[in-house]
Structure formats: C-alpha cells, structure tokens
Symmetry: C2
Subunit: 294 residues, 2 copies
C-alpha cells in the first residue's frame, strides 16, 4: 500500500518520510493527532476533527503553532497529490525536537500528515458485526492522562487490543479504574436496552468522538431516548443491542461480547440499523456540501 506523507509542508513518498530521532513524538509520545477521511474527494467533518486536534493540544499544554488554514491547505494538497478519491488522513503535531530531557520549553513543532486509501472493512463486520472482549487493562485515568486528548501515548490501547486478540476477539472494550465501561481501543461504545440508547458519560473517561456527537444529534432529531451515564459491565452484557462508533468505522454493530451473543444479523437490531441509516444519510448530505473538496 502506498501512503503519501506531508512533513512540514513537504510532500514525500512513504520511503522518504523520515523524522529526527530527537523529535519528542518519537522520544516521549509527546504529540497529538486526529484521523478523518474523505468520500468523493471531499473530507468528512474536517472542522470537527480539527476542533478536536486543537483541544487535544490544549489538554497536553501545547499551543499549535501552525495556522489552522495552513494545515487545512496541506491536508487538501496532500490528498490531491495522492490521486485518491477516498482517503484516510492522519494528522500528527509533535511538540518538536529537543534535547533528551522532558521539559516543555518552546520548540519548533513538527506536523506530519499521512494520506492513504480509506480503509475498506469486511462487509461482514456490518452485517454480522464485531466480537469484542471486556479486557482487564483499565483505560487511562483522567487524572493521569485524559482519554479525551488524542495523543501519541497509545500503549494503553495497544495493550488492551493485544489482550483482546489473545482471547480470540476482534477488539477490546475497556473500563475505567472504577470498573465502569469507558470506551474501546479506537472507538466509543453504545448499548440499547428497552428501546433506549445508552453510552458512557464523558466523566467515565473517554474520547468525545466526532461520530459519537453526530449519533447523539441523530437521537435528538429522531426522538430516540438517549442517556449519557455510567454503565456497568453487567448492563453492557445484558444489553439488547450493542454497537460502536468511530470516524473510520462509522456505526458498526457488535454481535458478541466475550461469550455473550447479542444478535448475528441486522434484522435483530432495529435501533442500531435505524441509527446507521440516518448516519449514512448525514454523511451524504455533508459530502454534498463539498466544504473541504480537493
């Protein structure tokens, strides 16, 4: 797979895309990032993703040096250079290159953009769904490192995924250190019970996903009862329907959580399917506006 990279404004091939080993992203994971994608040569919810990038920076005490409009132009230019209609875009901003010490003086930040063909998930993941596992690895505590910052410190999630894969599942659901359901490794988690849609409150320690916010809006516009609140692992196990949200996956159903099976086809999860339909329509409307076309 060929990936086009933009480092500080310079477009490079995958092979030539290198960074100093003194970059603090490499040394300490001292960086923030966000991920979005395009359809029909137009980026999806780019404003929301960039708002969050700036918020992630704020949460790690960093002020992004690059003007937002310059970053947008670089993303569009790099997507165009890739020659692809449907791209996955990852944007990383590091605190820059420094000596080997951890103090956060002013450095010249590095901005790296990765553009590759958008991920095509196995269609079975939308018809049958995902197999998740409730892992023992707890999500980072908000008092230590707020999961609402998308940062270059991703070992917590990597170890959770490793644990889930070792148990035979596709991916992991993590609890916070109080044992309450928090989020997945790279997605938010949702459940349906007695016609109500539930998702963990942000106080449980999670990323306020862009797709999560859109699904909350969709529930509001369609008179679907939604509760953001603490969810216990037992409630999740006892749910009628379970699904996940992420920018790249959209709304993806969960058919199995450890040994518990919810449903193995779309007909058996009417609310998940209705939300999924509305979400796909919302994206299409957004794309039709073509705000960030290239």
């Amino acid at each position: 797979m060929s990936i086009t990279v933009n480092i500080n404004g310079e477009i490079l091939s995958q092979e030539n895309a290198k960074i100093s080993v003194f970059d603090r992203g490499f040394l300490f994971g001292d960086s923030i990032y966000d991920v979005t994608y395009s359809q029909s040569n137009s980026f999806v919810f780019l404003d929301e993703h960039l708002d969050r990038l700036w918020n992630s920076a704020r949460l790690i005490g960093m002020e992004i040096q690059l003007p937002r409009e310059v970053l947008v132009q670089r993303i569009l230019d790099t997507a165009k250079a890739s020659g692809l209609d449907e791209v996955y875009a990852r944007i990383i901003v590091t605190r820059g290159e420094s000596d080997l010490n951890i103090s956060t003086d002013q450095y010249q930040q590095n901005v790296v953009i990765y553009i590759k063909p958008n991920i095509k998930y196995d269609p079975a993941l939308y018809t049958r769904g995902l197999h998740l596992s409730l892992v023992s690895r707890a999500r980072n505590d908000r008092r230590s490192l707020d999961p609402n910052a998308k940062s270059g410190n991703y070992l917590n999630n990597i170890l959770a995924l490793q644990e889930a894969r070792n148990s035979g599942a596709d991916d992991a659901v993590m609890t916070n250190t109080n044992g309450e359901v928090a989020e997945g490794t790279t997605f938010n988690i949702w459940m349906v019970k007695d016609g109500k849609v539930l998702t963990p409150h942000h106080d449980s320690g999670l990323l306020r996903g862009v797709t999560r916010a859109k699904v909350i809006d969709i529930c509001g516009s369609n008179d679907v009862v939604l509760e953001e609140r603490t969810i216990t692992t037992q409630e999740l196990i006892d749910a009628d329907e379970v699904f996940i949200t992420s920018a790249t996956k959209g709304i993806m159903p969960v058919y199995k959580l450890d040994s518990k099976i919810y449903a193995e086809n779309s007909d058996q999860r009417p609310i998940t399917e209705a939300l999924r339909k509305s979400y796909i329509e919302l994206i299409q409307e957004h794309i039709n506006k073509g705000t960030y076309s290239y």
Copy 2:
C-alpha cells in the same frame, strides 16, 4: 551539544539521525527505553539497566529481537565513537514500522542509542537541594500502564513536570490515583523520619529504579532501618529529610516541597549525606572493576 546516535548498528551524527514516520515509537510511543551513563570510560550498572530494558519490553508484551550481547557491543562502540570519557546513554527499542493501525503483529524492531556528554548538574542541587512540588497530575495507574515499564509513553510525567514548573518548583512528586506518594517524574522519592529511611512500596505504582535498589542494599549493609511501604503526602511533608534517586542524578537532596522547607544545607540531613557517601563509593568500586569499559 553534539550527540552521537546509533540506529540499528549504524553510527550517525545528530543531524542525520532520522527514523521513518511509520515507526511505532513515533506513531504511538510504542517503545521501551533505558538510560545509563559512564565514568572513566566504563559504564555504570549496565547489566542492571539492560535487565530492566528487557523487563520493560516484557511489560508491554514485546520480545526484544536483538541479542543482548549485540546491544552491549553497539553501546560500547557508540560511546567510543563519541570520544567522550563520561557519557549519558539512552537506548530505545521500538516495536518497529507498521501500517497506521495499532495491532502488535511481528515487525522489525528499531534500536536507537543516543550518546552525549554526561549531564553536569548544578553543584547547588547537591549542597542546597531540589525544590519539588506535589502535583495534582496522578501517576499512571498500574492497571492502565505500569510505571515499572520505562516506555515511550511519557506524557504523564511531562504534564507533571509542566505543572511543577508552572508553580515555580524544579520538578514534581506524583501520587497514585489513591493519593499515596508514588514517585517523581524521572526519579524515585525517599524520606527519613526519626532515623528510619522510607520509600514507597512498588505496589504504590513506580519504577523500580536501579539506584533505588542500590540504596536499599546500602541500607541493608549499614544497618540503616528501611521501610518500603505506603507513604501519605502528609508523611512526606512531615519528614525530617527528603531525597531522590535516579541513575543520572544519583542521590540528590530535596530542600523544599511546595512551601515546606526541610533543610538548606548538607549538615542538616545526616542520613541523606551518609547514604550519598556510600553510594558514591559503591559506584567507584563498580567502575574500578571496569566490566563495561570502552
């Protein structure tokens, strides 16, 4: 300052030391590291630091691909190439280069060694001491990311240091999420009360420092009463003497914790000074053996 870098066996100047932006150390902080130093062209406690590097790898579910003896030879060769008698050495092993996803399949690991002149701390930090602050940023919880793994996920400590510096202190002491004293940003913490030496038990969530282990040994050999146990912040504030340990700093006294002043000269902290003297002797004996000379 000139730093000599070794990437996968190749010795490079600081300017030419670059790594792929697809390296997982850069993408996710998916790496482990250790730091040691040399005196009189001989490395100090290198075996202990390499034992810990292998243990850090184990804690993040990674098996180091490079044979230990090859790594040792690279460290010695790079130190020799630097032309320096007293070096600081940082060794990073990353999980390798991958696509942009977080799954931990088998990749070709990257090994980076940094050699620079050993840090010369301001002598006043040994005579007067450090000013520390008890910060609100909690140390990573062991259930999320064990502080006993020295990893490329260092934002937790970076944010603690930032908070301490903003309050006017030199560095930070962190508590765990239960509010018990854990460790500093890059060092272990110790206190003396009524002639007894106390340091947090590893269950409090900390790195089992190489220098920490040596000081525990020194206490044992000198009939100094030592307790590894839970320490409250109030106990730390009420201590008679406070000091820190790290490989590069050795034993360094703390004269002030937030607004509390312990002592501003060496005469007023007899136990810290006695341990410091013994530790310096221990290093000298070790260096005289010249096990890892270059």
